[in-house]
Every structure is written in C-alpha cells, then in structure tokens.
Symmetry: C2
Subunit: 456 residues, 2 copies
C-alpha cells in the first residue's frame, strides 16, 4: 500500500505544492476582524478539499467566532482504530509587514523553503495530512483506519471556543487516539518524538501602599515602598540557584529517571547562549539547562511595573507595583494547586505597611506526558526513521499546547504529536517558512505511520 501512495505523492508533488500555495494565499488571520471573511474562506477551502478526497459528514461547526471544520471517514469499520486529527487553519498577524522579504500571502519557494504565513504553523502541516489522505484514497480507494478531522480557526487567539465544542460534541469527536501536527523537530531532518509538554499557570501580584504617589522627601522613612516590598516578595520565590523556594512547589513532581536523562542527552542541543545573546546559561541546581527547559518546572516573572518610568528622576514613593508571573508545570503539578501555593507564600512573606493582592490568571493547563515506549509512539519513531533515514530523538518541551491538555482531560486517549517544523521556521515572525524536505519526508512519514498503525 505505502509504495503506491508514495508514488502518487511524488508524481503529484508540483500540483500539491501549488494547491498548498493556494491555501496559504488566504489571509486567515483570526485575530483581526477585517479578515473574518478570509478565515471563512480558508474553512470553505478545507471543506471543499475534504469532500473531494471522499470524507463524509464534512461540515463547518459554527462557534461564537470562527468555525471548526469537521469531517470523518468511518468506513474502515468498527474493528479498525479511529484517529482524531487536530490542526488549525488560522494564522498569526503579519506585522511588522516591512520585515518580510516577500508577501506573506503570496507564497514563494526560495532555497528549498516555502515562504508564507502559515506555511509551518499550521496550514502547511494540516495540508500534508490531507494530501496523504488524498493519495491513499486515489491509490487504494480507502483509508486504512477510521479518521475524524477537527480543524479549528481560533488557535492563534487562544482557541476560545474549542474546549466547549470538544465538550459539547464529545460523541462526534470521540476516537481511540489523537494525532496533532502543530509542532516541530529539534533540527531540520531530525525526527523528533515529542512525548511531553509542560502545563502552565499564572498569577499577578499587586502591592499597594499609599493612595497617591508621595513626595519621597516628606514621607520617605514613614512609608513602606511598594516596589521594594514587591522585590522582597519576588526574591523570596526563586533563589540564585534557580530553585523555586515556594513551599510545596515541587510536591508530586516525578523525579527525572536515568532513562529520561539519557534521552535528553541524546537531543541535539541548541546553543542557548548563541540563540539568546546571554552571557551564560543558568539552570536549577542539580539539572542541566536542557533538563530544566525540557523536564523541570519553571517560574518566570514576565513583566513588572510601578512608579516613574520616564527620563531622569522623579522622587516619589509610588502608590503601587505589579508583577506578572507564569510557571511552566510538569506532570504531578496541578495548576490550581500551584496558584494556591504561590498565593499562600506571598501572603506569608508580605511585609507590613502594604496591601498585597494576588490575581489568579484563568488560562491554565496541566502538563501532558505519554510514555516514550507506548506502541503508538514507537510506531511514530519507526515511521519517522524510515522516511528521514535517521533515528528519532525523544523530547519533552517547555511549551504548552492547550488542546493537548483538553483532549487528554476530556477523552483520556493517547495523543501523538507528529510535528515537522524546524527551529528556523520563524513561527509568528516575519518570513515564516517551511522546508520542502519536511513537506516531502513528512508526508512519507505519515504514509508509513498509518500503515504501521493498522498493520504493525
């Protein structure tokens, strides 16, 4: 079966690339209401393509903003597994437009890369799946397993309506496992099994002192300075060894096994210093920077403000100071528990003379992890290796993908993250692109994978 489908993809490569470019030409920027019709056009494009391939129940599920495109193929029968394929057809805005070397919505191939907004995130990867299904249908007249397709148009604006829809339409989306291609490999042509994602949670701390900015000469010496109070609170939460010093923060965190440490070691390392311009890396005591970023929880102050921010000096004691904090969580850490622990710590250390308010951010996600030796993961590794002619590496990532947590939470099915992006893709930035190598070998991987699933 694989050979015929692969030949089809090879024979039709130019036509498929053209068709992808047509898809990428639609400026489906979900955040901007001026593009509402374009987002709709992208949904309709998918609907047409899915119908053409031979999917059934092809429909647009209306939401409060942008529709979810649904389609299914259930003819593999009740003895075959059902996969839920998730992707998104909306894209990030293109600003600053002047930094693009070519029009973000006039796709252009240069030096083995396809340049366009959405080429990697995520329209390109969504298209690869559909092209593979087309190839299988055209050559075999059928798909080797049951497929449910869920493509949303709101991923770049926080998937506002997806969670509700996954809840409400539980029966419709129910499957045996899920596949998501909205991530990347650690390096070009380096098959990468992403078997864990961090969760996250956030709080905002506001320290309030006087009810108006005070003259520091008249009141300095009688009044607690809110910025200084906030600094003391923050400094008490993570020490210079990058260890979070909030009681209970690490409770329930799984120890890093020696197998995992070994897997992490094998991941080709990004040069953190070169990539970020820092003088040297720092990481949690007892862990390497790679271990910490991939598999240990983190605590970051994302922003701080208070008092005078202009030129020169203004001799005031400001009325308040605010810090924004987010934590990336690992399995064993519940976002709500972490928020509660942070708040308890802050209330405990808050100095007298100021009022401290903790606002818990609503958007949270639990970490996700699947065992690297799960058969669905092992089959993915085998397929990758066959297509890319290289052993897969296994990584956990510091990032969070809310949909992964939601599917895990609502459906409790394994989720396979089959990503083909590369670190050079410039997601969300000017000159987003996707390597044609990933396009070709990625589709090859998918052909092998569906084959492995059903015949392995």
């Amino acid at each position: 079966m694989s050979e015929r489908a692969l030949k089809y993809l090879s024979d039709n490569r130019e036509r498929l690339l053209e068709r992808l470019q047509e898809f990428l030409s639609i400026p489906s920027v979900s955040t901007d209401s001026i593009h509402k019709n374009d987002v709709q056009r992208a949904a309709t494009y998918l609907q047409t393509y899915l119908t053409e391939i031979g999917f059934q129940q092809v429909q647009q599920i209306e939401t409060n903003k942008h529709p979810i495109v649904y389609a299914e193929y259930m003819e593999a029968g009740p003895d075959s597994p059902t996969v839920l394929l998730y992707g998104h057809y909306d894209v990030q805005p293109v600003d600053p437009i002047e930094l693009w070397d070519s029009d973000p919505f006039k796709p252009e191939i240069r030096e083995g890369r396809l340049y366009a907004r959405g080429s990697s995130d995520d329209k390109g990867q969504v298209f690869m799946h559909l092209a593979v299904f087309e190839a299988l249908m055209k050559t075999e007249g059928k798909l080797p397993l049951n497929v449910k397709i869920c493509l949303e148009g709101e991923e770049e604006i926080g998937s506002e309506n997806l969670y509700t829809m996954l809840q409400v339409k539980k029966e419709l989306f129910q499957a045996d496992f899920a596949v998501i291609s909205d991530s990347g490999m650690v390096a070009k042509n380096q098959p990468t099994i992403l078997y864990g994602l961090k969760g996250f949670t956030g709080i905002e701390i506001t320290v309030t002192g006087p009810d108006h900015d005070l003259h520091s000469g008249m009141y300095g010496g009688a009044v607690r300075n809110p910025i200084m109070a906030l600094s003391h609170i923050l400094a008490s939460m993570k020490n210079d060894d990058e260890v979070v010093t909030v009681e209970g923060f690490y409770d329930g965190v799984e120890a890093l096994t020696s197998e995992e440490k070994e897997l992490i070691k094998q991941v080709p390392s990004e040069d953190f210093v070169k990539a970020t311009g820092i003088t040297e890396t720092v990481s949690e005591k007892g862990y390497t920077a790679k271990e910490h970023t991939m598999a240990r929880p983190t605590f970051e102050v994302n922003g701080i403000f208070g008092g005078y921010q202009g030129e020169g000096t203004k001799t005031i004691i400001p009325t308040s100071a605010t810090a924004k904090i987010t934590c990336r969580l690992v399995p064993g850490q519940a976002p709500e528990t972490i928020q509660r622990l942070l708040e308890a710590h802050i209330k405990k250390v808050a100095p007298k003379g100021v009022t401290v308010e903790v606002k818990k951010e609503k958007l949270s996600a639990k970490a996700y992890k699947v065992e690297p030796n799960h058969p669905l993961i092992q089959k993915a590794a085998t397929s990758y290796t066959k297509a890319f002619d290289k052993e897969a590496v296994y990584v956990r990532m510091g990032g969070s993908i809310p949909v992964v947590e939601w599917i895990d939470h609502l459906y409790t099915i394994p989720i396979v993250l089959l990503g083909f992006g590369t670190p050079e893709d410039r997601l969300h930035s000017p000159n987003e692109s996707f390597p044609l190598d990933s396009f070709d070998k990625g589709m090859e991987t998918l052909v092998y994978y569906w084959h492995e699933i059903t015949n392995g």
Copy 2:
C-alpha cells in the same frame, strides 16, 4: 523702628494685598514656552517694584531661559551685615485646570486665604519681603542692613541656570548670610525653624539578559530572568526593618543626639496614615517615623519596569528590567560616595547570566544643616515667637532645596530658612492658597527679624 514699619504695613494692608494680587495675576509658568512673555512680565514687575522701593543696581541678569532679577541696597555701610535674599517668581503649571474652584490667575480671597497659583510658592512670600522693605524705607528712609536680592524664574524647572550664575557672579551675590522664604511651617500659625534639609542622589539600574524577549517555554530553565535578578539586587539593598544594607551607607552619618530627638518630639506630628492612606507606618529599626523622615537617610525605588505590562499574560522572559532609585541624604553623606557604594554593592551581588549597568544621575545635592542654636537661628525663633505669639518648633526636613546646597557650597555662609507656608497650601496642586494670617504675621516676623539682626 519696628513699630512705625508695622503701622505702615497695617495701614497699607489692603493696598499691598491688591498689589500682590496684581503680581499673582501674571501667569509666570516657567515650564511652558507659551508663557515666556508672562515670566518676563513678572521679572519686570519685580524690577519696577524694587526700583520704586529704592533699591539700586536693579537689573535682569539674562540666562539661557528666564532672567534672574537682581537688586541691592548697600547703604547700611561696611560695618553692617549683608544678607542675600533668595526667592523665585516662576510658578508651576495649573493643570488640571478643571479642579480649580477659581481662576488660578484671578486671585480671590475666601475664608481667610488668598487663592492663586504662586500665592504660597513662592511669589506670595517674595512679595512679603519686598513689602517689608517698602515699609522700612517709607518709615525710616533706610534699611537696617545691606541687602542683595536674587529672584530667579526657573525654580520650578530645576533652576537650570542658577548654579552657573551663582558661580559666575560670585562677587555680586557675596553676602554674610542668606535668607530664603520658600518653605513652610509644620502647621498654621506654628512658627517653624527649618534647620536641616536632606541631600539626595540617584542611580538607575538596568539588568539585561537575552537580546530579545524569549518564549518562556522554550528557554525557561536555561536563562536568568532579568526581572528576578533585579528583584534580588533590590531586596539586598534594604531589609524589612527599613535598614539600608549597602555596605558603608551609614558611614559618617551623625548620630541623632538626645537634644535633637527631643526637638523632633516637640514637632506637631502629621498623621502619616491618614495623609497617605497606608495601613500603618514603617521606619528604620530604632527610629520613629518622624525621626526617620526628618533626620535619617532614606532609600527609595521610585520606579521599576521590564517585560510585559498589558492585560492578561504574555509568557516571556524579558530582555531587561530597570529600576530608578533615589536616596535622601543627611550630613556626613557625600552624594558621589553614596552613588559609588550603591554601584559597588550592585556589582557585588549581581547574579551570573545577566549584565548589570548602573547609571549615576547627575543631579545630586548634599544635605544642609545649621546648628539650631546659631545666633541667626535663635534670632529667627525670637522674631517668629513675637509675631505669632507661640514658641517655635525646630525641624529638619526630608526634602531637598538645591539652591540651599549651592549657596552653602559656593559661599559657605549660614542660611536661614524663614518659611510661612502651611501644609494646607496645596503647592503644585489645584487651589493653591496662602493664609492671610501668614501674610500678616509673616511680615511682622520679618520686621522683627531685621531689627533683631542689627540690634540684637
């Protein structure tokens, strides 16, 4: 001598008040170039008045912005002391204008107060001096001592040109002592001897980490967070006991004598909690809030910023964070030394993985203090008591008046701060006003004071 002058002031009260209102009607807002001509008009008004009184050498000394009005009376002869009288004729802007109950430049008397911008700070107090000189000239035909008058038009914009002029025209301004009426009493009708002012100095700390904002999921765990690093630095500089923990900060600071503690106790206390809306006061361990504000050095973070300041969360590690710090200094603390100590401390505690830059603010001032029992001070106290029928209190203030430090530094002469404002005057705010009690008894105080100086 006193009686005749006092009778003159009493007989001419209405006329003098009208003349003051004419002066206050000129919108001499120094910061706004639209009022350049008005500032000039106020200078000319003074020039005319001084000439009329009988001063000599009346002139406008041109600067890069607004002129300094100079005049002198040297006919008391070489055996009489010479006083340098400093004041300013420019005023603060009036915004927000809608909060004024009457036009800031149409003076209005309501319930014993004269409402107008500049009524207290400082045109009203400058006028009182001139009216007293007028009274003495009209009744005695002479002044009891030599007088040099220096009235600037740039005080509200940082006295941009004054220091240079005091330096360049040193011979012109040279005197035996200086009198400044640009301050206040601790309460209405409470004679107040201000015998000490704090100095100040400032620095700005910028902590830089990555060369661009980083995705906290990708790099959290490998990179030092600049906001957290800055928090640790700040927290290391002042502890929860409000003690500055920078090595050497208190070196050379004079201990507070029991006499001074007693003087401070006698000052009617402002209710810090009520005035500022804080939950409770805090002050340096071992000192009361009053002692700390008046006589101990302070360290304040005036502003802080870094990273994301918008709504909700943005999961970044920011590229940098900045804090602005000013210290109020007491005698024994040199601003440059303090800046050096702060910088040394910061460099010492700066954690690895970030770059820390310390910018030293140029505008600094040393503290000023004159002995409370200095004859010039004692005579001021006697005069105050005679006029207000109340014992004077002795205060040191947390504020800084740059001109005091400059005169002290360039001329090394005693400086007497004879202020008649009250805490209710709303300097720099809408509805600035000055109590007529202060107008009447203040002029009486000045008549007694010139008499005490020359006959005491």
